[in-house]
């Protein structure tokens, strides 16, 4: 089996859309959560989100192409271009024919859907825009990445709600590892900050109205985010041969389903995915130095995830550093696992643990080391990044210092 490494990272995020800005925002715990400005909020009870505000589509796409792209596809294409550039990847005809493109997103072109339905139902429009369907289809982002970069190998979208990005990276990892493709573009994207989507989340009663405080006793719920992260994954052999930068090695992938509640985390299911990832990576619980937690900032997730970490890691949970990105990035659903995988790879690369932002008070239900508010320089050999999705779908990746 091939060893698989990460050679390119591209991000579009609420704290900046270059790898450097993204990383500095994470280690400074500079929150991207703020008042919603990209959509009207009169009808919303939730007035905050983690929006991508420095993103000007016209800088990246000509008007004709832009007409084809929902926001979630714009994010994916821009992140994918950045990843390819970062990896110094030359897309030759040979590579183009083989490279896989696998993108995770929980929804699809929700901005397009929302706009179209508003015109039809709210304004009694008689017709929809002819590009509505190509823009909003769930695979639009993945297809646009493939078209933009000319990648013609195995190409598909993975939808597993908040685990989509992690499942997509895991799938690409397995394909490169098995030799099905030498190179894969993989990651996740989401642009769900629409009136319709936020109303739906409000109805689930899990949104915070002030900010997101993962693992803190004072946490009040999650905050929606948006963005994308895409990666170039390739065989270690190939990366070394061409002298590519290597951020980290991807060493394990574990999956499970709870087959239980549609929304609540099941600590047993989450722990099974963590253990599967450890076994796949051939490491022991005590070998993991850092866990990028799902850490949504809801009362139930953070408590359940803490129980899961105890179950999966046993006594070594005490020595784990665990932190959540969601106080900074919000919860970008299908993109979350990918953005957090970027954070985890960069943590290994920089040997620095990004902190849990907005942490205020210890919670007896959350009794691990959450690296509150301040980044920590600490040797990291192995790290884990976890995603636990609505529908009880769990996906966990393990990374090794390159």
């Amino acid at each position: 089996m091939n060893r698989v490494v990460i050679t390119g990272i591209g991000v579009v995020s609420p704290i900046g859309s270059t790898r450097e800005k993204f990383w500095s925002g994470l280690i400074e715990a500079r929150s991207g959560i703020g008042p919603i400005t990209i959509i009207p909020t009169e009808r919303l009870n939730t007035k905050i989100a983690a929006q991508v505000l420095d993103f000007d589509p016209a800088q990246h796409f000509d008007p004709k192409k832009l007409g084809m792209l929902d926001r979630f596809a714009q994010f994916a294409v821009v992140a994918a271009r950045a990843a390819v550039q970062d990896a110094q990847l030359d897309i030759t005809e040979e590579i183009a024919l083989q490279a896989a493109t696998i993108v995770g997103n929980g929804a699809g072109g929700m901005n397009t859907l929302d706009d179209s339905y508003f015109k039809l139902y709210g304004q009694n429009a008689t017709r929809a825009h002819p590009l509505s369907i190509p823009r909003l289809m769930a695979n639009a982002a993945c297809s646009q990445v493939s078209m933009d970069l000319g990648l013609k190998g195995p190409t598909f979208t993975i939808a597993s709600a908040c685990a989509s990005g992690t499942h997509a990276i895991g799938q690409a990892f397995q394909m490169v590892r098995l030799g099905q493709t030498p190179v894969a573009l993989a990651g996740g994207t989401e642009a769900c900050i629409t009136v319709g989507t936020i109303k739906g989340w409000e109805a689930l009663r899990v949104l915070s109205t002030d900010t997101c405080r993962p693992f803190s006793r004072t946490r009040t719920g999650l905050v929606l985010g948006e963005g994308a992260a895409m990666f170039v994954l390739e065989t270690r052999e190939r990366a070394v041969a061409r002298g590519a930068p290597i951020y980290a090695e991807l060493s394990g992938f574990g999956m499970s389903a709870d087959a239980g509640d549609i929304t609540a985390i099941d600590p047993d299911g989450a722990a099974r995915a963590m253990r599967a990832a450890l076994i796949d990576a051939r490491v022991n619980p005590e070998d993991i130095d850092y866990v990028n937690a799902h850490g949504t900032g809801t009362a139930l997730n953070d408590k359940g995830e803490t129980i899961a970490l105890h179950k999966a890691f046993g006594a070594s949970a005490e020595h784990l550093a665990v932190s959540s990105r969601k106080g900074v990035l919000g919860h970008s659903l299908g993109a979350a696992g990918a953005l957090e995988f970027a954070a985890t790879a960069l943590a290994l690369h920089h040997q620095t643990i990004p902190p849990t932002a907005n942490y205020e008070e210890a919670d007896p239900d959350c009794d691990l080391d959450y690296v509150p508010n301040t980044a920590r320089n600490s040797p990291i050999q192995n790290a884990m990044s976890s995603s636990f999705a609505f529908g009880g779908l769990n996906a966990v990746l393990v990374l090794d210092r390159a």
Partner: protein, 118 residues
């Protein structure tokens, strides 16, 4: 509230209370797919096998029916539901069918009070 109490006929208020409890019973019965006769004001929600999303759906049904907003977080819904009723935690805003009807009545009253004041 004081404005409301002085401005509304007492028998009308009593009639509304009966209507509220009946609507509350029927909305809960429908969400949980159980006979409405099983529900008395003393029936506890956590004895009915409700899950957290059932509680959230019931609260949604009540909000739609009465045009009110009921403050409830998802974790409170979970603790109200049967699956997690022993985990303790802060006191819940309601636990019985009658409590639910009381909350709905208060919110309905609060909604009409400005009109009564005019």
């Amino acid at each position: 509230m004081a404005v409301l109490e002085s401005g509304v006929d007492q028998t009308e208020a009593a009639g509304n209370a009966v209507a509220v409890i009946d609507d509350v019973r029927s909305i809960i019965a429908k969400s949980l797919n159980i006979p409405v006769e099983r529900l008395t004001p003393e029936t506890r929600l956590d004895e009915l096998g409700a899950e957290s999303l059932d509680v959230i759906e019931i609260v949604f049904g009540l909000e739609e029916k009465f045009d009110i907003t009921i403050p409830l977080k998802a974790d409170e819904a979970t603790r109200l539901a049967a699956a997690d009723n022993k985990s303790g935690g802060p006191e819940m805003p309601f636990s019985t069918v009658g409590d639910v009807a009381d909350i709905v009545q208060k919110l309905v009253d609060a909604k009409v009070s400005p009109k009564v004041a005019q």
